[in-house]
């Protein structure tokens, strides 16, 4: 029996391995598999890349036509799938090699992390609205449970808040899906896209509004993001790095995929999203200035970057979209670096308050250096990758002759520099007695080091990956090509 290597493995493999977890506990394979599963999927993604670059891979798993599960791997979703699984490898390796708290090395965490990866892969790949809802809930439920895994009061509170707000988002999304089905009689994204312009205008508005509330909460856009810092603060930083690194990115992709696919002219919706993105960026960066808790500061910084990505993608021009996708990848790398470094620092210094971090960079030189590297990359200083992607976005806006986003992005970068340097200054403050804890597991730095290397590499040589992002932007923006690919040339 041959096993064709098709996109369905991105969803099936983590699901199967997660549910067979009692076996892995007995065989003592839990941690190797936590790293190995996303690593295998990353290898599969790299193996499929040449095929994806020539034509999008479509897979239909048919029960009986016309019912079936439809998956689509094109250049844009390939980027996201590779990113999600890469982040899975990094976080898995960090949990395995570092001396992480035991509750994150048990079976429950193993299952939840694999389910989160399966859910995100599914959301990005699926070509069907209802499956999108199902994957959204799979990713959501595993994220709620991951937040609450520590089972003390802050963790349970974070889990509860996340669950309540996440369920409300899912209801609004489901409402929009129901209305779309009642109007068009279809759930396949391509078929809905073909029929969407025939839906009466007010109904289109209502569907758009419900989608915006549902996905706006999930993508953490202003004014739906008041809950985010609480969740990031209450969860373990390694878990928070998964939220900021892959969960939000998958939802952002879904949001823009739907906008560009359903609307023949995404101008109005794009302008709204650009506005929301700009407000999200400015508000979050300003609030981050006065945060006293490391995890909250990183959460607000993450929100600011998400606003920037939304601003770039919402413009809907090839160069800003490519830059936005590139920045998405960079932001994931940077936030993996910062949150995992934060996890190491928090373990040694107990509290995350800024006052308790005085001199931490001297006691933990390696972690301090990595934190500085990540901070510089977020600000977008050359030669780090944040510079390359921000430059790309700014160039895209400048070429189109639209200058207000350029001004806002530069302003946000200034504010960012303000609060990151405040933290860096505290990290290297001279302090007489710095409690030196027993030495850390040195291996925990390995996955962080790999991420840091990638940040530098992408910053020095962005031309290595340019083509991938341009192709990704084209396939994200080219609605007709998707419709023709899925429905056939006659449509």
């Amino acid at each position: 029996m041959t096993m064709p290597l098709t996109p369905v493995w991105f969803i099936a493999l983590p699901l199967l391995l997660a549910f067979a977890s009692p076996l892995w506990v007995r065989l003592r394979l839990l941690m190797p598999l936590l790293v190995g599963t996303p690593a295998a999927l990353l290898a599969l993604a790299l193996g499929l890349l040449p095929a994806v670059r020539t034509a999008p891979l479509l897979e239909t798993i048919v029960i009986a036509p016309p019912l079936g599960i439809h998956l689509q791997l094109d250049s844009a979703s390939w980027l996201l799938v590779a990113l999600i699984n890469f982040a899975g490898v990094v976080v898995g390796a960090f949990l395995w090699l570092g001396e992480t708290e035991p509750y994150l090395r048990e079976r429950r965490a193993f299952i939840l992390i694999l389910l989160l990866i399966a859910g995100c892969n599914g959301m990005v790949l699926t070509g069907d609205l209802f499956n999108l809802y199902v994957f959204l809930e799979i990713a959501g439920v595993s994220a709620y449970a991951l937040s609450a895994l520590r089972r003390d009061a802050p963790a349970l509170e974070a889990g509860l808040k996340y669950l309540i707000i996440g369920s409300v988002a899912a209801i609004f999304f489901l409402f929009a899906v129901v209305l779309i089905y009642l109007q068009t009689g279809n759930l396949s994204l391509a078929a809905v896209a073909r029929g969407f312009s025939e839906i009466p205008g007010p109904m289109q508005m209502l569907i758009g509004l419900l989608m915006l509330i549902g996905l706006g909460i999930k993508t953490e856009l202003f004014p739906f993001n008041f809950w985010v810092p609480d969740i990031y603060q209450g969860s373990h930083p390694a878990v928070a790095s998964l939220y900021s690194g892959i969960l939000v990115k998958a939802f952002l992709f879904v949001l823009f995929h739907l906008v560009f696919l359903f609307l023949a002219d995404p101008g109005v919706a794009g302008a709204w999203l650009m506005g929301l993105g700009a407000i999200t960026m400015l508000v979050a960066e300003t609030v981050a200035l006065r945060q006293e808790d490391l995890r909250r500061m990183l959460a607000y910084s993450s929100l600011g970057q998400i606003g920037l990505i939304t601003l770039a993608l919402g413009f809907g021009v090839e160069s800003t979209t490519a830059g936005g996708l590139f920045h998405m990848v960079n932001h994931t790398l940077v936030k993996l670096l910062l949150f995992l470094t934060a996890a190491i620092l928090l373990r040694s210094f107990v509290s995350a308050r800024i006052a308790d971090f005085a001199g931490a960079g001297r006691a933990r030189p390696l972690a301090g250096a990595l934190f500085v590297l990540g901070a510089l990359a977020v600000m977008g200083l050359p030669p780090l990758s944040g510079f390359a992607s921000k430059l790309w976005i700014l160039k895209g806006f400048a070429e189109a002759g639209v200058f207000w986003p350029v001004a806002l992005i530069l302003l946000a970068a200034l504010i960012e520099a303000g609060y990151y340097f405040r933290w860096i200054k505290v990290l290297y403050e001279p302090r007489t007695e710095v409690a030196i804890e027993p030495s850390e597991g040195r291996w925990a730095y390995l996955p962080i080091g790999v991420v840091a290397g990638l940040i530098v590499l992408l910053g020095v040589a962005p031309f290595l990956v340019d083509d991938l992002f341009i192709e990704g932007a084209r396939s994200l923006l080219d609605r007709t090509a998707t419709l023709v690919a899925v429905l056939g040339a006659g449509s």
Partner: protein
């Protein structure tokens, strides 16, 4: 005398009004109530309203269940099975989320003695 109720337009109107009322009752509960369990129940009510709307509007009076039996051989005059399959799936998901939420709320109550959302103040801006 009440046969006018069987007209699809009237019937669907009633379904829309009823389920939207239910949706807004849930939304009110979500925003106005402070007990954690009441909030979770409000979310369940909102979900239910969406299911009812879906099932109600997808079927019309006179349609039969989409099962080929009892001499029925063609797919004529049958209800669309897709909304019902989807709603079943969504109910299962909703139940799982509700179960998780209630178990978290119970654990939180055991740990801190609090069941009020206004008391969820471990994590906040300083």
């Amino acid at each position: 005398m009440l046969s006018f109720l069987d007209e699809p337009r009237v019937l669907h109107g009633i379904y829309v009004l009823g389920s939207l009322t239910l949706f807004f009752i849930g939304l009110y509960g979500l925003l106005a109530k402070r007990h954690l369990l009441k909030i979770l129940i409000s979310i369940a009510v909102m979900e239910l309203a969406v299911y009812l709307l879906f099932i109600g509007l997808a079927t019309s009076p006179g349609e039969t269940a989409p099962i080929l039996s009892d001499g029925l051989q063609g797919f004529v005059g049958m209800a669309d099975p897709v909304p019902q399959a989807l709603t079943l799936t969504a109910i299962v998901i909703g139940l799982a989320v509700l179960g998780l939420g209630i178990s978290l709320a119970v654990q939180y109550h055991r740990l801190t003695g609090k069941a009020d959302v206004a008391g969820l103040t471990e994590l906040k801006d300083v």
